[in-house]
């Protein structure tokens, strides 16, 4: 599904990712953990095609294609989905309008016909239930005036609507209380299946109690320092990120 090799990424001349490697197979859930400034969110944004990052070396192959050559919209149409850490407020564009445009762009790409209003609404109602959202949210401007929890639920709702092959959740747990976290996690779990891969970027182990990953990777200084099974997250929780530092031969570059 996804193969990342020796990825180097710079922002404003500073190196953020430095030789990152990652392999994700179809159906797998990978958690990427790491301290602040380790490059987790940069990695998530680079996969989605954020124009603010410069890939200086390495490759990202998605389903046999060079992901880095694709425009962000092209990636989305091919099944890449980023749940934003900070979902953007878009006054004047309703949720339903944006989603309809998005769903139909993706359907068009797949060679499917556009959904008519009735079918679209039926799909919306079905998916809203997944994240326990009211239909009135659909008619509000995208994320405008939403609480932190509502924004994150809206991301998972969009993910459910767009049915991606590769979903990247960027700190979807940040700012959520425990109830909202459970709702979001349940929404994600419902979407787990053998053909869909999920990359969860998170600072805390907490989310992984509810979305149990197949693999955990610890990122620091822009590269994967240690990989393991779900138990690695628990060890991290217990010992802190300093423990990884001691575990690895190479000294960590600390970032401000």
């Amino acid at each position: 599904m996804l193969s990342v090799t020796n990825l180097d990424v710079a922002v404003n001349g500073g190196m953020i990712l430095n030789g990152l490697n990652l392999e994700v197979q179809a159906g797998e859930v990978h958690a990427i953990m790491g301290p602040n400034g380790s490059g987790k969110s940069t990695f998530a944004n680079v996969l989605a095609g954020h124009p603010g990052y410069e890939v200086t070396a390495g490759s990202v192959i998605y389903e046999g294609q060079d992901l880095l050559q694709m425009e962000p919209e092209e990636r989305a149409r091919q099944g890449v989905f980023l749940a934003f850490q900070y979902p953007v407020e878009i006054p004047g564009v309703s949720n339903v309008y944006m989603l309809k445009a998005a769903v139909n762009e993706i359907r068009k790409h797949r060679g499917e016909s556009e959904l008519d209003a009735v079918k679209f609404l039926k799909l919306v109602r079905e998916k809203l239930k997944l994240v326990d959202m009211k239909e009135e949210f659909m008619h509000r401007a995208v994320n405008e005036g939403f609480s932190g929890g509502e924004k994150k639920r809206n991301e998972i709702f969009q993910m459910a609507m767009l049915e991606p092959k590769l979903a990247i959740l960027d700190e979807t747990d940040s700012g959520l209380d425990i109830d909202a976290l459970k709702v979001v996690a349940q929404g994600v779990n419902e979407l787990r299946d053998a053909s869909r891969s999920i990359v969860i970027v998170t600072h805390y182990q907490r989310l992984l109690d509810y979305i149990v990953p197949d693999y955990v990777h610890v990122l620091a200084g822009g590269r994967v320092l240690k990989s393991g099974g779900k138990e690695l997250a628990l060890e991290l929780e217990e010992h802190g990120y300093g423990w990884i530092k001691d575990q690895t031969a190479e000294p960590l570059e600390t970032r401000a």
Partner: protein
């Protein structure tokens, strides 16, 4: 150094007026002659505006004064009304059922108008016809809403007063169907000057909608110098729309001058979709307690177009409410000017006033000069104003792209969203749908910012 150029000035129009004076509608009516003469004297005195005037600092009229425009004062051989008819058919607002008057270069074209089924208590007719048949009926109202010191263009319009629309909504009459005034410029060749002069009288307790639309018949260079006066008696209500959608080679100077009596309400919406140079002046006088005005505006600039909105709301009396919300979307090398002035006189306590101007620049070469201005002489008032100039939010563009929406489409979606709240206030569904379509259409080219 004196560079000789074939430029014109006020004297040319004064001369044209003198030649035409005796043949103007109702010439020989003493009060009207005096009124035209007075306006002519003002035009002679102040001349056409230049950037030396504070109110014209950012709008250079040289592109207008470079040519001499020939006033159209009476119906000419509209040998080819078919052309105008076709244009009206093309540019009509779909599904808008209206009482419609059509003016070609400012002159009423009865054959194209549809005002037959007007309800009782409502008069909608050609100004020239009314001047000829009942000049005295207009004596007290005509000119009564104009600013004390009009600029040269307004004075020019007043010195001619040839034709335009007269609208009167009788006391307590509620008119659901809008009155549509369609002004088609560039009908009779190059460099023609249309001088529509409109008067809208809303008697007490009445309610109506008037839509003024300004279009071009051809791409010929033209000047439209239009003045509309609106008088709202007690508790009268008017929805007024003014849509300018002329060709890139057209010049347009328009005025909306309003007097409002007690508890009257005006909702005025100005939309500029196209035109080479467009200057809109708005003056609203709130003359009695409880009067309310809501001004909204949307202007689109592209190519090298120039749009200037000059508005002035004067609170003379207590308990008045004014709202003003203008938005601009500027692309290419277009320029816009917004000057919104609100005056709260010393007696106008409990005034509630809000004003905002927001601009979206789609290109690095577009430019806007915005000047919100409050003058408050009362001490118990609530007033707020503000202005912004910004670009599309890159974060929002990326968000939409990350959902599969193409970049151009994302930019267009966000640009339309910027205009959405102005268009949302339009109460006529057919007109709203039409203007949304027009804005969408004009922005279909929205390019990537470099």
């Amino acid at each position: 150094m004196n560079i000789a150029a074939s430029s014109t000035d006020a004297a040319d129009y004064v001369a044209a007026q003198q030649i035409a004076a005796d043949a103007l509608p109702a010439a020989g009516t003493p009060w009207l002659d005096a009124s035209r003469d007075k306006a002519k004297a003002i035009l002679t005195d102040v001349g056409l505006p230049t950037t030396r005037l504070e109110d014209w600092k950012y709008t250079n009229t040289r592109s207008i004064t470079r040519s001499k425009f020939d006033p159209v004062l009476r119906s000419e051989s509209w040998s080819d009304t078919a052309v105008i008819e076709q244009l009206i058919e093309q540019l009509k607002v779909p599904e808008l059922k209206s009482h419609r008057l059509v003016f070609a270069d400012g002159i009423f074209v009865s054959g194209l108008s549809s005002d037959a089924d007007l309800p009782r208590g409502i008069r909608v007719m050609s100004m020239a016809q009314l001047l000829q048949s009942e000049p005295e009926y207009l004596k007290s109202a005509l000119g009564s809403a104009l600013p004390e010191s009009p600029h040269g263009f307004t004075a020019m319009n007043s010195s001619f007063i040839s034709d335009g629309a007269f609208v009167e909504i009788g006391a307590e009459v509620i008119l659901d169907k809008p009155i549509e005034l369609l002004f088609v410029s560039a009908c009779s060749g190059k460099d023609r000057l249309g001088l529509p002069r409109n008067l809208v009288l809303c008697r007490s307790g009445s309610s109506a909608t008037v839509v003024e639309r300004y279009l071009s018949a051809t791409k010929s260079r033209s000047l439209t110098n239009a003045v509309t006066e609106v008088i709202l008696d007690g508790s009268a209500r008017l929805n007024h729309y003014r849509v300018v959608d002329e060709s890139a080679d057209s010049f347009h100077v328009g005025g909306l001058f309003v007097q409002q009596d007690q508890s009257s309400r005006l909702d005025a919406c100005s939309v500029v979709l196209g035109g080479g140079l467009v200057r809109n002046d708005v003056l609203v006088n709130l003359n009695a307690p409880g009067a309310a005005v809501d001004l909204t505006g949307l202007y689109l600039g592209r190519g090298r177009s120039h749009v200037d909105n000059h508005t002035h709301v004067v609170h003379h009396t207590p308990d008045g409410t004014s709202r003003e919300h203008y938005k601009g979307i500027l692309d290419d090398r277009s320029r816009a000017v917004f000057h919104g002035r609100i005056t709260v006189e010393s007696g106008a306590q409990q005034t509630d006033s809000e004003q905002s101007n927001q601009n979206l620049l789609l290109s690095r070469d577009a430019e806007v000069d915005t000047k919100p201005q409050l003058e408050i002489y009362a001490d118990d008032v609530k007033c707020a104003h503000g202005a912004t100039v910004g670009q599309l939010d890159d974060g929002a563009v990326f968000y939409l792209r990350a959902r599969g929406v193409g970049e151009d489409e994302a930019r267009k979606m966000l640009t339309l969203a910027f205009a959405a709240d102005v268009l949302a206030k339009i109460e006529q569904p057919a007109l709203k749908g039409y203007l949304e379509h027009c804005v969408n259409d004009r922005l279909s080219f929205v390019p990537r910012t470099s």
